[in-house]
């Protein structure tokens, strides 16, 4: 499903959270809302989910006006920053919740619910924890339960608020890769909020950089790094290490025509380049090792 927001403004008392924000998420995209805290990115996500009503402006789902639509009728899956799992329910019941509260005529049978929940818990690799309560899980496990719960209702959009914010670095890496794979498998239109530029640049097809309630730049990750649209963007992304280069080795097939070659990295997706192409490497401080 595509999402379009047009001229959104939202204030809380004297605090302006969103100032005339417009942007579009195309169907199947994975978009990051990136910005410092207080930049309005979470408010924007909550307006899309229907948890906040904008003062001015509209939200469209697949071209249909949905600004005042009740959150329960929007078909969105929402993963909260602190997961918001139902603490008095087991993991199984948490995931089943969205199916159990459907109107009687649309509610799946007990067996179907059970099958679906186990399928989802399998997808997040937690099937063996169905009987536990949220308080008995680690942060990463709670995060994955929250994801399974959001996916259970077969949402047309997945919204994630700082999905990896409260996790330690190693778990974060793992979940990031996992989310990326998930998105490649099911192509669910997804928007996630983050203040971590690496997360945004690594995961998203498109990065929307926000500051002070406004969109500073809306572009693919490469462009955000290479051509920051405003001083804020270049400042905010300033501590990214970037090494530019140009492909020098020429590869030919047997007929002597130049052929592309594959550049590969541990984390990066393989890219095909040809002699003369500009490339850049962005090593991360926490992954640089010495050979000695």
């Amino acid at each position: 499903m595509s999402i379009e927001v047009r001229n959104l403004t939202k204030t809380f008392g004297s605090f302006v959270a969103l100032r005339d924000v417009s942007f579009t998420v195309h169907s199947g995209e994975l978009v990051a809302l990136l910005g410092p805290s207080g930049s309005g990115k979470t408010t924007l996500l909550r307006v899309i989910a229907g948890l906040e009503t904008p003062d001015v402006g509209s939200v469209f789902f697949d071209g249909d006006e949905a600004t005042r639509r009740d959150p329960r009728d929007r078909g969105v899956g929402f993963v909260f920053q602190h997961y918001a799992l139902f603490r008095h329910m087991t993991v199984f019941e948490n995931v089943a919740f969205g199916l159990r509260v459907r109107p009687r005529d649309q509610r799946p049978s007990q067996d179907d619910i059970s099958r679906r929940v186990h399928e989802l818990l399998g997808l997040v690799q937690l099937d063996y924890l169905g009987d536990r309560y949220p308080s008995q899980l680690s942060g990463g496990q709670r995060q994955r339960v929250a994801l399974a719960r959001a996916l259970a209702v077969e949402p047309r959009v997945l919204l994630l608020d700082e999905p990896f914010g409260a996790l330690d670095a190693r778990v974060r890496q793992e979940l990031r890769r996992w989310l990326r794979r998930l998105h490649q498998e099911i192509h669910l239109t997804s928007v996630f909020v983050t203040h971590d530029q690496e997360e945004a640049l690594e995961l998203a097809n498109r990065v929307v950089v926000m500051n002070d309630g406004k969109i500073e730049q809306d572009a693919p990750p490469g462009e955000v790094i290479e051509k920051p649209a405003t001083p804020f963007v270049s400042n905010f992304l300033g501590d990214v290490n970037l090494f530019h280069g140009r492909v020098q080795v020429e590869m030919h097939d047997k007929n002597g025509t130049p052929t592309p070659m594959e550049l590969d990295g541990e984390r990066a997706e393989a890219v095909r380049v040809i002699v003369g192409d500009r490339v850049y490497v962005r090593p991360r401080s926490n992954e640089v090792r010495s050979n000695n």
């Binding site: 989910a49 948890l51 329960r72 909260f80 918001a84 799992l85 603490r87 509260v101 959001a150």
Partner: protein
Amino acid sequence: MLTEPAAIRVLLTGTCLGFVALFLVLPLTVVFVEAFRNGIGPYFESVREPDAIAALELTLIAAAFAVPANLVFGVAAGWAIAKFRFPGRTLLTTLIDLPFAVSPVISGMVFVLLFGRQGVLGPWVAEQDLRIVFAIPGIVLATIFVSFPFVAREVIPVMEAAGTQEEEAARVLGASGWQTFFRVTLPNIKWGVLYGAILCNARAMGEFGAVSVVSGKIRGETNTLPLHVEILYNEYMFQAAFAVASLLTLLAVVTLVVKTILERRLHGGSA
């Protein structure tokens, strides 16, 4: 680690135990000793006497109205105060405590001034052929009023601690308002609600001041247990007075036991 000298420890514990003995254990013992002064037979006679039974019934009726009414009100007020920001929220929080702040006698007077023959709504009440003051409705109203803060007081902190995220999650997952309340909100606050209901019940059954003003003390009709005890005592029927008082004491003991069990669930329970 305790570092106080033994003498101070003994002094503190001794003072505390002495105080408890003097002000709690001794009076309670006196109630039962006096109640059984003339033996078991007269005890049951005074308890089974029609006026005593009527008083017990009226006390239970008043509590049966006050507890559900204040449950609904308390949870609703807690929900509004803990989950929403609206103008007048602080005022509402303060107003909830009003029955604690004013003297019960004044609480009773309010209803007499409102619904009594000379009261503001007196003529209207008379027109409807209703009796509120010096009748059961007045007693129920006064009881509701004085026991009104208990549930709300217990529920508000529990709800505030729980926050609103789980409710938002439920809404996004497709739950209606009622489903959200019954499946998410209520299970999270149930021990707080029960605890508040127990306290509310204790106050409703024991209330003297406010009820005494609106009751008119018509024997067998508008007497609650506490009022009945007072009347018997004033008529020098000490044994009967203490026998009826022992009923109230037993109700209080049951309440305390239930409360202790609930407290354990509330603070020690994992779910």
